[in-house]
Symmetry: C2
Subunit: 249 residues, 2 copies
């Protein structure tokens, strides 16, 4: 809407208004761009909001766009012929979604929650990727981080118990979610609260468990007074340290 305001005035110096407050501006891939490059990206990209449970890109399909996650959680999953499913990645703001150098994804990309994306058309982005080495390097670095995360989760699935996986999952989510702290002791890093962005079914598919096992493990954490859960999604973590410890052994 207001995308084109700066167009003819100072094409190479100002930062587009929309990008000023953007979560992807600094920590995301846009941080690799000069003002004029950012302006160009801003011109071809478009913010869009998606409801929970939508498929953004389907397995074996040409992915029409790349995107930065601005809000919410995007899940990457794989499905076996008999219907078993595994979530192989979760993307939070300001992560980048999409795979360069390959038009078709072999993943399902779906919204796990309500999601706001900054979408970028495939062609335009690939052009920029070829022209701007710093952008490619940034994307390369983010890919390396994703590889690290994937391998970290591989350890959880291969060697950790259900109890450790659930604790580790909650801990990881706690670090990624906007932290709605309500306790008076603001500086207390040992307690946090947030809304779970995933259903029990998604949690199970991420952790390689059944929903019943996930539920039982959550109940155990409640009994140990490490977390409280209300309305299914609302989580209060009373003891982050103990949660983290539980995820390690």
């Amino acid at each position: 809407m207001t995308d084109s305001e700066n167009d003819s005035i100072q094409p190479s110096a100002e930062i587009p208004e929309l990008c000023q407050e953007c979560t992807a501006r600094h920590r995301g891939i846009c941080g690799a761009l000069r003002p004029d490059e950012l302006t160009h990206l801003n011109k071809i990209s478009k913010q869009k909001t998606f409801a929970e449970g939508l498929t953004l890109m389907a397995d074996q399909q040409e992915a029409p766009f790349f995107a930065n996650v601005l809000e919410g959680v995007v899940k990457l999953s794989k499905t076996l012929p008999d219907g078993r499913q595994q979530i192989v990645g979760l993307q939070f703001a300001p992560d980048f979604v999409g795979r360069p150098f390959q038009s078709e994804s072999h993943l399902f990309v779906e919204t796990a929650s309500k999601v706001k994306l900054c979408t970028i058309p495939r062609k335009g982005f690939e052009q920029m990727l070829g022209d701007i080495p710093s952008l490619q390097e940034r994307l390369f670095q983010q890919t390396l981080v994703e590889l690290d995360e994937s391998r970290q989760w591989l350890v959880a699935l291969g060697r950790k118990t259900a109890s450790e996986r659930v604790a580790g999952f909650l801990h990881m989510i706690a670090l990624h979610m906007p932290n709605n702290k309500e306790s008076p002791s603001q500086g207390d890093k040992n307690t946090t609260s947030f809304d779970l962005p995933l259903t029990r079914s998604d949690m199970a598919d991420f952790m390689g468990l059944t929903i019943e096992t996930v539920s039982r493990q959550l109940s155990k954490l409640k009994k140990r007074n490490i977390v409280s859960i209300s309305h299914n999604r609302r989580i209060v973590i009373h003891d982050m340290e103990l949660l983290e410890k539980t995820s390690r052994e």
Copy 2:
């Protein structure tokens, strides 16, 4: 030894002798280099052979070099405080070993078998990476492939049974190993033989199982006449198709 023969004659046109027959020359990262660049890489790199069971880079340590795998298998693993171990990746020729943009590895890198590497000193390689965009792009692409493989194995660990994992593992190894076919029917793609590059213990650590479970599943595959095993390591796959099918359901 013969590394420096071409040095002063035609520094920018000829392909170094050692690289001529190298497995990394075409499919590996060296394929992204021009002859003069390859000559430079050849000058700073060095072929080395390592015995089975050696640690090339340890967790939290500064990795002294990058390398191309020329022969054998390198395993990447992570260890939990209590000793549980998970192999998070296996590298075959002509894979690249090492993580750019980060001096310390969070992995153990060990030789799973006897291994031949073309090692490249950290500094020199990072310099080349900065100077040669095509090299960075090649490495980026290989990283994306590794990410795909890692996610594929995530599905196995999260959702597949022991039987499926073992079949899938054998199938994967069969595709990577130099295929010592001995049967008269050369063109028969349904049968293969090779030496396992991993011990039962490594196999278990890769598949997130115990050695006993691995052994029991191998025995089942023998009973079903899908494979034969002799001398612990020598594998003959009689029916690749059935093996692959077993890995999928």
